[in-house]
Symmetry: C2
Subunit: 141 residues, 2 copies
């Protein structure tokens, strides 16, 4: 299989494959004419890479999984190093989610405060509109 076919079957591009090879992540045999030659195993590796990438893993973080498959193990995560990456990544995800939730709460607080301040100004001009915006008001204007 040549690079174009592999790229297409994996839903990626030839440029990405060349990049992976440059990183030593997905080495390729060479045909007599210098063309890269891939096998079905490489498709497997590539799918593993793409899956992890969709999870937000960096390419270097996929390396243990790829090496695990290359070593002949049944799954990319059959090796301790891969499990370690899972653990690290889960911790990162938890931290990231917690941070984002905290930020969300703060931004929502600022937003509500700003809206209330605006409505109080408006209340001075007209009569008193009932102030029942306890939570975030959505898609106004």
């Amino acid at each position: 299989m040549r690079i174009g076919e592999l790229a297409q079957r994996a839903g990626t591009t030839t440029r990405a494959l060349r990049y992976y090879e440059q990183l030593g992540l997905l080495p390729a045999r060479r045909a007599g004419n210098g063309y890269r030659a891939y096998g079905e195993d490489d498709l497997r590796l590539l799918r593993q890479i793409r899956t992890l990438q969709d999870f937000g893993f960096g390419l270097e973080e996929t390396r243990p999984f790829v090496e695990c498959l290359q070593a002949g193990h049944p799954e990319g995560d059959s090796c301790p190093a891969s499990l370690e990456v899972y653990r690290r990544k889960l911790a990162e995800l938890d931290e990231c989610i917690a941070r984002l939730q905290d930020v969300r709460a703060q931004v929502a607080g600022q937003f509500d405060r700003a809206v209330r301040a605006r409505d109080e100004l408006a209340a001075g001009a007209s009569a008193q509109p009932p102030q029942c915006e306890l939570a975030t008001e959505w898609a106004k204007e």
Copy 2:
């Protein structure tokens, strides 16, 4: 106030301030010798920028807030354009958090599956250890 002092008081660097000026975000008056000259108002603007940056806002997203302050409004979020940015950002945050939570669940699933597969292999060699790992096992090894 010269650039170094402002940077120090705002907890940032001179390079960042020059960058903001380049973007037209934080323009500076010039002293006779060509030095940038800032006032207390600029410190206010700068703090607004930094606060929003800490929330994960891009510099362009801070612009409405800065312009709002520059226009003489009491707060950076006293203007409709700023509220609009808040709304967009809240939506982005919600989407991002949901995506991360989904990813977290998938990674945790993969991790648990891989761990069970490993333990099943180990169970063949020794006796049957009680398999009670319903949830994620943490910090093993």
